[in-house]
Symmetry: C2
């Protein structure tokens, strides 16, 4: 974050990792902000992230109309294309050469912690070569697992999807009772699965049990817990992270003989849910047990967007450009600070050094997990509710009973 | 549909089968209409459909406030609870006895073709016993498989979910290319799976292949078709009904040695998608193949509601009551007639005899399926688009390329 002389030249931006519903807000926030800075003489979009830089697949973002940009901003997924690629040191050299060849003085990379690391490596190469360039990471991840920032752009909208899905499915399960398991994205962090509780209003609303990767999953305790809930409510809804693991850290969905899918290497994501449903049917003799795996729908569902998330994603894109162009900061990652709680929620933005965000990831705070390890606390609700936007106020009959005439 | 003398007495209503996003509109439409008819002296809601009638679990719907009813109408799933139960002839007798004991003169049952059959049996029992009662079936099914009616309340909203999910997932797949399979509800009818195409705008938009139960599924042809699309677009999106079957009518997901799940009886719904993904990886050597199964989310997702669907669901509920109370029709099922196409879409309602709706179901019309059996026609789009409401106008870069400098 050394202050350097103000740079002038072209900018390149790329999108990386799993797409989100608001990653294009960050892209458009950056482009629109760049238009206001004379020092940015061109703005190139790299197709499919660093892959597009390596192969010089670049498009001219300043050539796009404001109307196109407005529509892109409101469109899910990564409009430039994305990539799951952590470039090797040699490739980082190649990337740097391409940037030099096009006289690029600003590089922006939208993504998670791997993208922050890539950005950091490119910045260090530029330093070594004494090539002046501003290099910024713009945060994005539905997993909400970046360090330093209070939360990550992309999370609010995905969490909104999960909360709504559970609100609807809770009523579905109430209408046709049984055990229902929903598997939510999250290999290492349980933030998205925890969002399953945000729509709970009444004591008997599901999910009744929530399992996240941060708490070891024990099959015996799981069976007992489901049994208790089922006896009490005549039904049970379970939220499960795809990354739940046993106390030794072995993922539940590929634990040898316990894998209901035998030796077949499964690409799909139905395995964990089907395995748990099978376990419950077999051990608890409950007949109606169903499992759904939310899969990719969680991250790019049109119209399910949190307005707070959308606005913040836009702002982190704009701030990266402002920091690079106007303030002459040479590198960093944009982060969010919470400046008001609950109904007074508001956020502020700041720049943090790349190395504080690269490599490591954040997990669900211990205070967000109930002591029994199978539920989520009110502290999490207070943390996450402002990020997902208002939820619908669903109705329910309390129901004045008609006296029985035949079987009193 | 004999005209009888106008009846006076209490009404009972129940909800049956899989819940939908607008089944409570039909319920509230019926209650609000009933308030306008002095001949309906009480309105009871049966909890969990015929199960609640059998056990006299009834609540007083006239005791509910207009505000509660308004909120219930906008709430997904069956607010009275639902049931998957086709009562036996003995149970129909029991049901009839309960109705008599409570001096019920109007019986309304919201559901699919099985519910129409139940309703019909109850009406016939009343005829035999010379007990005057108005008995009406109110249509509901996301499968859209009822006869006589142009389409079914509940379908438009579920189809809207499917269309939106594919629009988002198409962009996700475009950003991170590969083969993506999405399994959609529909054991026997492909209407919901067909809705996957409603958001396609450009020639390369997915789904590129659509498989419905009405067209026999051939594994060899499937592999070739995916290969062709993948070569052309570098990616392939496939929509599949859960009920696809081979030419002999055997479901693909439980066809003996071809079942990737071995001998395990799976409750969950991940099996078909995982099996197809595994097949593609093995036979076509494509590395990134993913499968999602939409599951129960399709039918009760809060906020994903078609306004046309919502209005029509309300109207069929109201018309059933109006027909029973004011017009003195003694039995029937409410149906929808299309009275305008495209942007001039509008609907009319009429009553059809119960036996025309009971038992049999409708399949996807042959003109809606492309000759190759792996896609959906424009005729279907014209049919279904007015039912799901306006879709978002998503953006896309056409992209003015920057000339390459290093690797021209």
């Amino acid at each position: 974050m050394d202050r350097t002389a103000t740079l002038s030249g072209k900018a390149v931006i790329g999108q990386s990792g799993g797409p989100t519903n608001v990653i294009n807000q960050s892209l458009v926030g950056a482009v629109e902000e760049a238009r206001r800075h004379g020092s940015i003489t061109g703005f190139y979009g790299a197709l499919h992230g660093v892959k597009g830089v390596l192969s010089e697949e670049l498009i001219d973002l300043f050539a796009e109309s404001s109307e196109t940009l407005k529509r892109i901003a409101e469109t899910p997924s990564a409009a430039l294309g994305s990539v799951r690629k952590k470039p090797s040191p040699e490739e980082c050299h190649e990337i740097f050469k391409v940037l030099q060849a096009h006289e690029v003085r600003f590089f922006f990379y939208i993504g998670g912690n791997d993208s922050a690391e890539t950005t950091d490596i490119i910045f260090r190469l530029a330093l070594e070569a004494r090539y002046s360039i501003g290099v910024f990471h713009i945060p994005k991840t539905i997993d909400n697992d970046l360090l330093v920032t209070d939360h990550c752009p992309g999370y609010g909208s995905a969490a909104r999807f999960v909360a709504l899905a559970f609100m609807g499915d809770n009523l579905d399960n109430r209408a046709l009772p049984g055990v229902k398991i929903n598997v939510v994205m999250g290999r290492n962090a349980g933030f998205l699965t925890a969002a399953s509780v945000l729509g709970r209003r009444r004591e008997d609303d599901g999910p009744h049990l929530v399992y996240v990767p941060e708490a070891p999953f024990d099959k015996g305790k799981f069976l007992s817990a489901v049994e208790v809930v089922f006896k009490r409510h005549g039904r049970c809804m379970v939220a499960v992270s795809e990354g739940i693991a046993d106390v030794a850290g072995n993922p539940i969905y590929q634990s040898g003989e316990e894998d209901s899918h035998g030796n077949v290497q499964l690409s799909g994501s139905g395995a964990l849910g089907d395995f748990l449903a099978d376990l419950l049917k077999r051990e608890l003799k409950i007949s109606r047990v169903r499992a759904d795996t939310f899969g990719y729908m969680q991250r790019c569902f049109p119209t399910i967007v949190s307005e707070v998330d959308s606005r913040e994603a836009r702002e982190v894109g704009a701030l990266a450009v402002r920091s690079a162009a106007r303030e002459g900061l040479s590198s960093g990652s944009v982060a969010i600070r919470r400046a008001g709680e609950g109904k007074d929620y508001r956020s502020e933005y700041f720049v943090t050094p790349l190395e504080t965000v690269a490599k490591h990831t954040r997990k669900l705070d211990a205070r967000f997990i109930a002591p029994a390890g199978n539920n989520i606390t009110e502290a999490f609700v207070q943390y996450a509710l402002p990020l997902i936007g208002p939820l619908p106020n669903l109705g329910r009959f309390e129901g004045k009973r008609i006296p029985k005439k035949l079987k009193p």
